[in-house]
Symmetry: C2
Subunit: 246 residues, 2 copies
DNA sequence: CGTTCCCTTGAGTAGTTTCAATACTTGTGG
DNA sequence: CCACAAGTATTGAAACTACTCAAGGGAACG
């Protein structure tokens, strides 16, 4: 789990805690594209850490497939399921992926015996909630082109935390259909929007590769501010200075 | 805190735990309409339980005021701030409200000594995340009228959990501006939408009162399914049957 | 009894969807 | 190796939804 919270609160995790986390993994598995790892409403007995690949959070509603979140390597994807037990959404791979499973029984021991680590785990689930909120802002306020740019900007930063982005882009298995589902538009319209962003030289998108000629320009266009990702920025917390830190 | 998780997991809280929660409250305060209780980026040393009134989660971006969540009595509004320390959004009252404050130092003791209660608190923050996800679906998929109907349906259910809804509506201090900000449209457009819903006899909205002539019809129109609120439904968890329950 | 805030309506414009049709890619079997 | 099928990407035109700008009406409060 070397990528977990990397670039966020990783520095406040002791070597012992880090090793403890690693020891929770019961099984590592390679899963093909489009696999539903955990289905809405099914009681979960384990949670999933994404090691390699992409995962989408999907809510199906009257035939429509809505993507309500995306996860990148290092994300403890369905840790939520430890507290919720049944998820409200499906966890689906995008592209072939590598995942590790952690049994809930072991997490329960952590909660009982490791308050500091528990709080880090809690933090990581709330990080997802903060990202949800920014998606809400994005959907409430931005037009399709800006939404797409926002998602790309967000993914770049999250991949950069875990060392998987390069200065001019990143690899990404999402199809135009996925992007449309995540932006709340149709595949036809997202296609026109991609064309327009390409012409504006903000974005290039093909064959699993995103190219960003000028990241500052893209982020300005998307009204993107990275604070909500809780990396180094105005919301970053130096845990040591927190008096209530258990 | 008698309303906390009522209708959700309240039944798995022991009398002792319930009393323990009550003992955490340091101060109860009456706050006027539009008060910012906790501001984005400010280090929080306490969290807020909403006892009476409404609270909105607000993210300001380039002059626009986006409502990314609404809270009703019984909600442990900014419990998130215990783990996140600095919130990514503002916590703002809508209408005069009554709130109770819980110091984080006391919460840290709970996390260190009460694994079961800790998990309930964690659960309650993830409930907010589940609501965020449904808002994302709503914004991705529905048109303005359906979005508004969806918010009203959600509020009815959440108020009903804590005994504040009646069969044909509920009291609500939100103005048309607030509803527009929560639906991602303009105040002008939300006004037309309200008019249209009124004509369809799905909704009546005036002077702090929402009237719902036919709730089933409203929910059908909004494509509303209440499961994600984790009341009694397909996602409801009977905690006793959970083997990892600490 | 006027000011202020909130609600309501109209007309023109911009953004998005829908339906329909056409290309490009990739993988598979002959 | 080519032919074909299936999935993905692209483009056009018409209809619809929502936004903007602008102006007027109503209720509440001092």
């Amino acid at each position: 789990m070397r990528l977990f919270l990397k670039g966020r609160l990783r520095h406040v995790m002791s070597e012992r805690e880090s090793a403890l986390l690693d020891s929770l993994v019961e099984r590592v598995e390679r899963v093909p594209d489009g696999t539903c790892i955990l289905e809405r409403g099914v009681v979960a007995r384990q949670s999933t850490m994404l090691i390699d690949g992409f995962i989408s959070r999907v809510i199906n509603d009257s035939g429509n497939r809505n993507i309500v979140g995306l996860q990148v390597p290092g994300d403890f994807v369905d840790l939520h399921a430890f507290a919720l037990k049944r998820l409200d959404h499906d966890i689906v791979t995008v592209g072939p992926s590598l995942v590790a499973y952690v049994p809930h029984a072991k997490l329960a021991e952590i909660v009982a015996q490791e308050p500091h680590l528990t709080r880090l785990l809690w933090f990581s689930t709330l990080l997802d909630a903060a990202i949800h909120r920014e998606w809400i802002v994005k959907l409430e306020q931005l037009r399709a082109g800006e939404r797409l740019a926002h998602i790309v900007a967000e993914l770049w930063h999250r991949l950069n935390f875990v060392g998987l982005a390069d200065p001019h882009g990143f690899n990404m298995p999402l199809l135009q259909t996925h992007l449309a589902n995540a932006c709340g538009t149709t595949a036809v319209h997202i296609n026109r929007v991609i064309k327009s962003l390409r012409q504006k030289e903000l974005l290039e998108l093909n064959r699993g590769r995103v190219t960003i000629p000028d990241r500052a320009a893209l982020e300005a266009y998307a009204h993107f501010r990275p604070d909500y990702l809780y990396g180094e920025g105005s919301l970053f917390l130096d845990f040591e200075t927190d008096s209530t830190n258990p």
